[in-house]
Point group: C2
């Protein structure tokens, strides 16, 4: 039988109210004699307060839901870590949910989380979510969207990254290094970041008086498999190109592999630029030139914003845009 606050109260010969105050450090008005007595009994009997019972009254669980597509995708662990660090620092816990970009899985997680009374949700929504689902509409706790915003979702905090600007800077740099036929192996266009990066690519081309050729823009997914397959396709079709701007680093890794297998030298024959700056970007033979995204910061900031809203009970509807940074390494000449 687990020991409860009542047991402690009885053992210490005080009321449960007194014990409660001591357990929660609201003991300004408690004499140090009783405080010590109660504390030692708590210690002795190894009392563990039931926070679920507290939650019933305080209406706070100090839990935050984190919904991401897949923790096994190298983009998300750092984000999750950032969120968890900030959460932990403030006495919150993170409930991890992998949605696999599946809309119905997302919705069912959202419902689960609400039933578990989480205080708020950090959400990297599916690239495929075009509008607000019923579940999302009915949501009555604060939600922060990270990386991918949800159009039509009213009043929520958004954390984004300068995708367009980052891509613009990267492609401009490629052009400045003499690359002229730049293939864009993009992510899925259902995702806002993908769209924004494409915009940046086009903008850089236009500003430098290069033609934008649709044959050079190929949409795929954010995986190295797609990068590999994509570049192989391009080579087979004998498309003339001197460089590849990739939707993310995973794609770039696949591209590098495909290029290598075809005897193409990077950066001599072909230049390659990624996006994200995942950990592996520096561990490969020819270190990847890429656009760094502040992954950890995104998670950290998201949790910070959310906790702020929670503690101040003051919900803001605002957009935070974090900077990217071009990291020049070895895959561009």
């Amino acid at each position: 039988m687990k020991i409860t606050i009542k047991d402690i109260a009885k053992l210490a010969d005080v009321s449960t109210a007194t014990v409660s105050k001591i357990v929660n450090n609201k003991d300004q008005s408690i004499s140090s004699a009783t405080r010590e007595k109660v504390k030692s009994i708590i210690e002795e009997y190894n009392y563990v307060p039931n926070r679920i019972a507290s939650s019933m009254i305080t209406k706070k669980t100090n839990s935050i839901g984190l919904i991401i597509p897949d923790i096994a995708n190298p983009f998300f662990p750092e984000l999750a870590r950032g969120a968890e660090d900030m959460a932990n620092k403030n006495g919150y816990n993170i409930i991890l949910c992998n949605s696999d970009n599946d809309l119905s899985k997302e919705d069912s997680y959202i419902e689960m989380l609400q039933e578990k009374m989480v205080d708020g949700i950090i959400f990297t929504s599916s690239s495929r979510r075009s509008s607000v689902s019923n579940t999302l509409k009915k949501l009555h706790i604060p939600i922060i969207t990270v990386d991918r915003e949800i159009e039509d979702l009213k009043s929520n905090c958004r954390i984004k990254v300068k995708n367009r600007e980052g891509a613009f800077e990267a492609v401009s740099y490629m052009i400045s290094r003499g690359y002229k036929k730049i293939v864009n192996l993009a992510g899925p266009m259902t995702s806002k970041p993908s769209k924004d990066r494409l915009e940046g690519y086009i903008e850089a081309l236009v500003k430098n008086n290069l033609v934008v050729d649709e044959k050079y823009i190929i949409e795929g997914s954010f995986t190295s498999e797609w990068g590999y397959k994509g570049i192989l396709d391009i080579i087979r079709k004998k498309l003339e190109f001197d460089s590849v701007f990739c939707g993310n680093d995973l794609i770039a890794l696949g591209v590098l592999k495909g290029l290598r297998e075809n005897g193409l030298n990077v950066p001599k024959d072909i230049g390659v630029v990624g996006f994200d700056d995942i950990y592996m970007a520096t561990m490969i033979d020819t270190e990847l030139t890429t656009v760094r995204q502040p992954n950890y910061q995104m998670g950290y900031k998201a949790a910070q914003l959310l906790i702020n809203m929670l503690e101040n009970k003051h919900y803001i509807d605002k957009e935070y845009i974090l900077d990217t940074k071009l990291i020049i390494r070895k895959t561009t000449r």
Copy 2:
């Protein structure tokens, strides 16, 4: 004001007991007329049951704590994903905790999780934990240790991997390929898997009548930084060697980088073998020969075992040992 079971009961003109039964599908004895009526009202008013209140009574939260050193370390995302998949399939949630191998952080998470009334814990304990802490001793919920067991922790389920056998197989293979001077750049010896892998290394050497030279065994940490630094050290010291058996893939990646920077060709000059088979092992130029660990499976199995114990209220104290597999790729001749 949030809507409660009482509101629904009043609106449907039934008792809360009836609503409760319907919400939880214990409605064999409810007439379909009432069932339909109640369900439509629940729908209409968008009622979300408060599972925390249920938990008070049922003594089950359907939450599982997952304590790992660091989700940003490539070894853990897959493990976490495996655990979350199995949990989700059974209606459980995962609370993610990053301990940074910090004993006091581990303990404080364990306490937090107990206060939140999680049903059980999946725990990859710090490599530095030599014996059972007070917190761990007082634990009164089931705990499954994964990868690293805790000596002295009584009656808990353990999931491990054949580290010794895997290392033995790998090093034996290296020897069969003609490598004779095999450096072992190991992980920290405070970690059981490290110790076991070292044992396997030694065993293979001995069985093949090669001398075991302490100069060739260097203990470090499970990071690529250490692998890089370690190999640089070895080269500087002009130690004669023809191959490196690494404590894990991260170390191997660092080794590969150091070798490359010193103009050493892999596998012609030097052979390299890792351990884990992380995703990146195939994405690098010279794909890494390594020992595959069933990361996802470990998490999946851990959650499965835990949930089984929870549902059957029958706690087992048993060891599950999963197989490793030597994956021969390009870093060995």
